[in-house]
Subunit: 262 residues, 2 copies
């Protein structure tokens, strides 16, 4: 039977979900999507995903793919899916891709964003899309500190409680810290990240912004491989998986190792 | 015992609440506030309110007052309250007012806002703060129709399912229709409104914008006193109680009649 490989670009507000990955007893983004996809495609669907985001973390350009024997046009699949999905999950794009494409394995990089609302004032309406910090942060010091993090390092000091098996050596290509109105927006581009790494990196940079750490302390924290030396794990509300980068060609996959959740 | 009368300006995201008014079996804004106020003041508190908003309706400048024997400074009450309250309710302002001030009785006018996101595109993040309409609305026609609604009329055709007892004669001082990016923002200023009146007015103006009604049909709809002739009751997500207007003096209240919920 002829099957197609379909790639989805997914936006979601993670607030109501226990993360991406399917669980028997909890609402998850994957579980919700696969449930609706089964209705649309007429058969059970297994989603492969670029980044298994943690509970409460948001997706803007999350990328997943699945194989289907349904012959519905892909635009129709997107349309019907968006009508069936709850309002906090949306298919931004659906496209047919080569059979070999694998959303997890072929991801060659990711862009994560952490948003800090740095103001005494706030509103109740967008409260799940940032982390609220009242004292004014020293952005120049945060930018200086970020430079020590870019490159290939052992990030053991910046790793969360789960998944201690993966290699702690990771590469951060770029950290950009922008100010947008009352927000400080931290953007991290890298190949892949350890469990809760972005939230710990952001908590550490926040500590630098508060004057609780000096920019040059980052070097010592990296070297220490001690989680207790780094800053706090910031809440998931401020974290967005913005974009996943893929090469133009997709070689056949023989085996691949699961990445730690973000 | 010396008591003070305290006026609160309250902002809330109504999404999670069964409206303002306290109910035994449901989460409400009033119930949540009175529960936290009891902790802060050390005695049970009865809140008087300007507008008893319906389930899902939001507050920006909702106004309430209560009498307390607590001698905590009012700034402290606000601060502690904001720490105890869930993230979707916020005290914007707390102030001591004359003993005679009554948030319900003295309100001489209200400004309600209804937000229509008029675009094929949308995001999942602010989905509870507007009503989504894809076809492009004719704003000029909506403005023309709004003119027929301003003034004192019998608004029976624009009244919701609850509360048929109050006088259906109401006065709308002003309807302003603004476009802000992808949003059409309808603002209504009046003395007071009938149950779901703003949502039905907005649904009727939306029908005019869609070409399902002509601006001049409004006159006939008012005259008919027939709910079925008007447009649909739009969802509460798009509705905000923006501001409550009070006179500068607060005469003593002898008796007052409960207003219908919005």
């Amino acid at each position: 039977m002829k099957t197609r490989n379909i790639r989805l670009t997914v936006e979601y507000d993670g607030t109501a979900y226990s993360g991406w990955q399917k669980q028997a007893q909890a609402e998850t983004v994957q579980g919700t999507l696969e449930n609706r996809l089964q209705h649309v495609c007429g058969h059970p669907v297994d989603l492969l995903v670029a980044g298994r985001t943690d509970a409460g973390v948001h997706g803007l350009g999350q990328t997943a793919n699945f194989h289907t024997s349904s012959n519905l046009p892909v635009a129709k699949i997107q349309d019907v899916l968006n009508r069936l999905l709850p309002h906090d999950i949306r298919i931004v794009k659906a496209q047919v891709v080569p059979d070999t494409f694998h959303a997890t394995y072929h991801a060659k990089g990711k862009l994560y964003r952490y948003v800090i609302r740095n103001s005494a004032d706030y509103t109740v309406f967008d409260r799940n899309t940032y982390h609220h910090v009242r004292p004014l942060l020293n952005v120049a010091a945060m930018r200086k500190a970020a430079k020590y993090l870019v490159g290939t390092h052992d990030f053991t000091a910046f790793r969360g409680t789960l998944g201690k098996k993966a290699n702690p050596k990771r590469t951060i290509h770029k950290i950009q810290i922008k100010t947008q109105g009352k927000d400080i927006v931290l953007e991290y581009t890298g190949v892949s990240f350890l469990h809760q790494m972005i939230r710990i990196l952001s908590g550490t940079l926040m500590y630098v912004g508060l004057g609780k750490l000096r920019p040059e302390d980052i070097r010592q924290i990296l070297k220490s491989k001690d989680r207790k030396k780094a800053g706090p794990t910031l809440p998931p509300t401020g974290l967005f998986l913005v974009e996943v980068f893929y090469p133009t060609k997709f070689p056949k996959i023989k085996k691949w190792v699961k990445e730690e959740a973000e």
